[in-house]
Structure formats: structure tokens, C-alpha cells
Symmetry: C2
Subunit: 320 residues, 2 copies
């Protein structure tokens, strides 16, 4: 028998199904937050996220409006991470035939609220039936050469910054799974995350690489290193955590730095900047490490120095 | 308690969740085969289809490569129906963790084969886990003013044509459901349909409105009438059927015209042309009816004249 996805893992699968694009206009394809297509002097961005009931959200924890909000904001966050301005969305949704119309209306209300906030038009989609609820959102965006920021631009010596406290979303998920309904901060971060459109375009001008935190800091830093052909070192103690995430760690007897490194869905930005730009971006983030030569690997300093492993990966386990 | 989707129906739901777009560039949004965005002198097209295991395909009937082929071709057919040239695709897929990597490879092989044939690059997507298999495909396209063909352009007196025999896909589905494995023609049409990119651009120059047959001729004609603000009459006996579809009707003791009118997934084109263009498009199709004034309604002539009802609609029943 052949290999199962649980052995191959998400990133192994992506490697196996990816191919070199044929068309000339493709600047970045599979392997960045969004695909990038040249359109005259500008670039069109395309990103998509699919979420499945019970694997990515549970109706008993999450009101329908928040399911819709999160499905939309996670895509807008990807456009932000490219230095882009979001423009249009396509929403595909599969629903059971016995779903209440009001429930679906609330899901769409959540999507429209977030779309309106960021100037996004929902211009199309597909509605169908299925034995469980699935939502696929595509968001398109646009950017120019000055703002376009790929994962692949990090250089040895660049500083690595994160735009805000991490680990809150994962802390919230773990609280929910254990039946806790507070502290409320992390739970809200899990059910109704924001994104950093507010600073992304300003950071993009100075950043050499950028990515949003969807799978945990460890995973995002490794993505940047892989795409840029570099190594990195992260100083664990410098990773920003908020007070309630630390509190959640105590309640759950879990290490809040693990939430930050291996949790994901925080939708903060991780970005790298050359030393000469550091002072221009300090107010947008916290330095957590530096880019190294490739042969140094990707490491974490925590009293001792070790390989930076982990980060959330689909198929490997069913954590959500 | 509120209304369920099984009462509201797919088209009722779409009305409820649609809103007027805010951005200036939106030429057509929800309600056509693809969304249309103005981009300089040209138009960018966006279409998407979501399919869910056991609701839209069954692994025991359909080899993985054909699942992939159909997921891709149904979207390319939507771009064809707008008079566009397909360019890029985004593929989101949810899979069980115990899926064989080889199975997924075959699904993608099917998608890439069809994408290659029509010059489409798969530039991005999302892979995730879920308790059943879901595929969402987005295809973008491009067209110009001469070729752009909406559902909304039909005028009283226009002829209604279809580009080829209908009902084969539905005949194939009914054969499969009853355990038959032949006649092979309709079964292949259901499992591995083509699309009419080969003629769509040529027809587009002369057509006043165009749509592809995804939900059955009745449904497609009613969509054109609704978007164009007109009525129509279809002559049932003129609807082209192929020999094997007629044979399937005999085997199943079902009316093959019902397959054509209410089945769907044939991915032929339905288009309307003004009388002065009729001779230019005769070789691309068969005349099946004419556009009428709106107050005449949407009718079918079959010995007697009656309202044209039906067509496949999600949520109303679980037929597939």
C-alpha cells in the first residue's frame, strides 16, 4: 500500500502536487501567502482558505457570525502579508439542506462586516449541499512593486520582527477544548481574530520578507528561511505574549511560548528587515531574532540553542 | 423556528445573501456564470465551483483522475460561457488524513491534464484535513468587449440555440445509481464531461446572451430570461439528444427529454442570437426556441404549451 497523508504531511503533499507555472505573468505561485500575477505595472494577488466544520470550527463554540468573520479575515491577512490591498472575494459554501436560512444569513453577515471594513466586495461564489458545512473564501488584492513583499526576500543579517503578541488563538482553543469559557481574551482571539492590514502596507515598504502567522511562529520562520534560502535564530524569551495568554498557560499547565511557536491563527505579521531599516519599523513590532546563513539552520535560543521544529501542519494530527 | 434551506432552495438563498457591489469595476457579480471586473480595456473573469464527496461524486463510481478532471472542466466551462479565455486556477482541497497520497496525486493529475489542455496555470490553493473530501476550484479568465457575453443580453425575437446533445450526463448518473455500467456514452459524459471552449469564443461574437448547461436546459433558459428581463418558448422536440441517451431512457423507463431539461452537468452552451446573426452561428448549434416578451413567461411547447418549470436546484433534494 502507498503512503498516507498522515505520514506525508501537508507540506510534503504541497511539494508533490506543485508544478512550475507555464504562463509568463506568474511572479509567485504555490508557496507564498498569495499567488502573484503581473498586471501591467501592478500585481494582482490571489489567496484562498478552506475550512471544514468540526475540523476547523465547531458550531457549539462559535456563533455563525464569527465563523463568517474568521473565514474572511484569514484571507485578508494573507493579502496584508504580501503588502497588498484586498479588493474582491469569492465565497463557496456547502451546507446541509436542514440548515436554517437564518444561520446562513448570520455567517454571511459576518463575512460582509469584515469585507466592508477592508473595502472588499463579495462578487461571486457557489452554494451547494453537503453532509457538513464547508466554506472556501478567495480574496484578490492588488499591489505595486514598492509594496510587494514575498517570503523569499530575507537576507543574512536581517532582523526578524513580529507585529504583536502571539499564542493567544491557540491558548483560546485549548481553553475551549478543556471546557473553560475564560479568560475571555484568548478565546475571543481564537473565535474572532483580527488581522494587521492597519500596518502591513507601511511595514511592506521596509521589509525584505513578510508572512502572516497562520501556523505558528516556528512554521512561519521556517517558511521564510526555505523560500529565501537562509537560516535563522529566534530568541524564545523575546517572543511577545499577552497577560491573558500567560494566564491561560498557567490554568492549562501548558507553556505559553509553545502556543506562540506551534499554535497559529494569530494573524499577526512576521517580517524581516535589513539593519538600516530597523529604526523605521520598530514601532510596528518586536525583534525576536535574526536571519543567519543557510548552513546555520533554523534555531531557537532558550538558554541552550536547538533546532526550531514544529508548527501546525494539517494531516499530521487532528488538533482542532 | 425559521425557514430551512430545503424550503428556501438554492436560488432563494442566493437572493438572500447577495448584495450590490461597492467597487466601481464590477460589471457582473453574483448571478452570472462568472464575476466580471473591468481591468483597463479588458475584463477579468472569476468563477468557482465547490464539490463535496457523496453529494457530488462517489469514489466507488469515479476514479480519482476523473474527479479532478470534472472539478476543473466545470469551471473552464463557466469561463467559456462568458466568451473568455481561462488563465489561472486556485485549488482548495480538504482530505481525510488516511487518504493515500497516490489517490490525491491522481486527482491533481486529472486537474493538471485539463488545465494544460486549456492553457490554465494552477497558481495556488489550500490543502487541509476534513472528515470528507471537498474540492473547490476557482478559475480566472480574461476577455474583451467584443467577446464578453453575459446572461443579461437576450432580446425579444432572438433565437435560442444549444451547442450539442443534452441529457447525457443525467442519463449516466441515473444508470450508475441503478447499477448499470452501460451504455458507456452517457456514463462517460457524467464522469468525464468536456466543455465547449472550442466554439465559445466564435459564438460569443454573435450571441446576445450565453450560459453553460450545469443545471439543465430549463434552469439555464430561466436564468437568461430572469437576467435579461424577457420570456421564452422552447420546443421540446427540437432539443438534441444522442442515441445512447435515448437508449438509456428506454432502459431506465425515463423520458430522455427530462434528462435534458432538468438534469444538468452537460456543459454544452445555451446561447441567444438576433435573427440577423442566425446564419453565422447555425454550424455551432441547434435552434430549440425563441426569446419572447417578458409577459409571455417562460414556456415549453410539447403538443400543448405549458410553463417551463424545474431544473436542478441544490438543497431542494439530494439527487446526486
Amino acid at each position: 500500500m502507498g503512503m498516507k497523508l498522515s505520514e506525508l504531511g501537508e507540506f510534503g503533499l504541497i511539494k508533490r502536487i506543485s508544478r512550475e507555472p507555464q504562463r509568463e505573468g506568474v511572479v509567485a505561485g504555490i508557496g507564498d501567502d498569495a499567488a502573484v500575477i503581473k498586471d501591467g505595472e501592478e500585481f494582482i494577488l490571489y489567496t484562498t482558505d478552506i475550512i471544514v466544520e468540526d475540523s476547523h470550527f465547531r458550531k457549539e463554540w462559535c456563533p455563525p457570525e464569527k465563523i463568517g468573520r474568521k473565514a474572511m479575515v484569514s484571507n485578508i491577512s494573507d493579502i496584508a502579508a504580501m503588502g497588498g490591498i484586498p479588493e474582491y472575494a469569492l465565497v463557496s459554501i456547502a451546507l446541509r439542506s436542514d440548515t436554517e436560512a437564518e444561520f446562513v444569513g448570520s455567517v454571511y453577515k459576518g463575512m460582509y462586516d469584515v469585507a466592508d471594513r477592508y473595502g472588499v466586495d463579495i462578487i461571486g461564489g457557489d452554494t451547494t449541499h453537503g453532509s457538513l458545512m464547508v466554506i472556501n473564501v478567495v480574496v484578490t488584492g492588488r499591489t505595486d512593486k514598492e509594496h510587494l513583499t514575498l517570503r523569499s526576500g530575507a537576507k543574512t543579517g536581517d532582523y526578524i520582527l513580529v507585529s504583536g503578541p502571539l499564542g493567544g488563538s491557540k491558548a483560546g482553543l485549548e481553553l475551549l477544548k478543556m471546557g473553560y469559557r475564560e479568560p475571555k481574551g484568548p478565546i475571543e482571539k481564537h473565535l474572532d481574530p483580527g488581522c494587521r492590514m492597519d500596518i502591513a502596507r507601511d511595514v511592506a515598504v521596509f521589509a525584505s520578507a513578510m508572512i502572516d502567522v497562520s501556523d505558528g511562529l516556528a512554521s512561519e520562520v521556517r517558511h521564510i528561511c526555505e523560500e529565501s534560502g537562509v537560516g535563522a535564530i529566534i530568541e524564545r524569551e523575546r517572543i511577545p505574549l499577552d497577560r491573558e495568554t500567560i494566564k491561560a498557560g498557567k490554568i492549562l499547565e501548558m507553556d505559553p511560548y509553545d502556543f506562540a511557536l506551534h499554535g497559529g491563527e494569530d494573524y499577526e505579521l512576521v517580517f524581516t528587515v535589513p539593519e538600516e531599516n530597523l529604526d523605521r519599523v520598530r514601532r510596528y513590532g518586536t525583534v525576536v531574532g535574526r536571519i543567519m546563513d543557510k548552513d546555520m539552520g533554523v534555531m531557537i535560543e532558550n538558554g541552550e540553542i536547538m533546532d526550531l521544529k514544529g508548527g501546525y501542519e494539517h494531516f499530521r494530527e487532528d488538533r482542532r
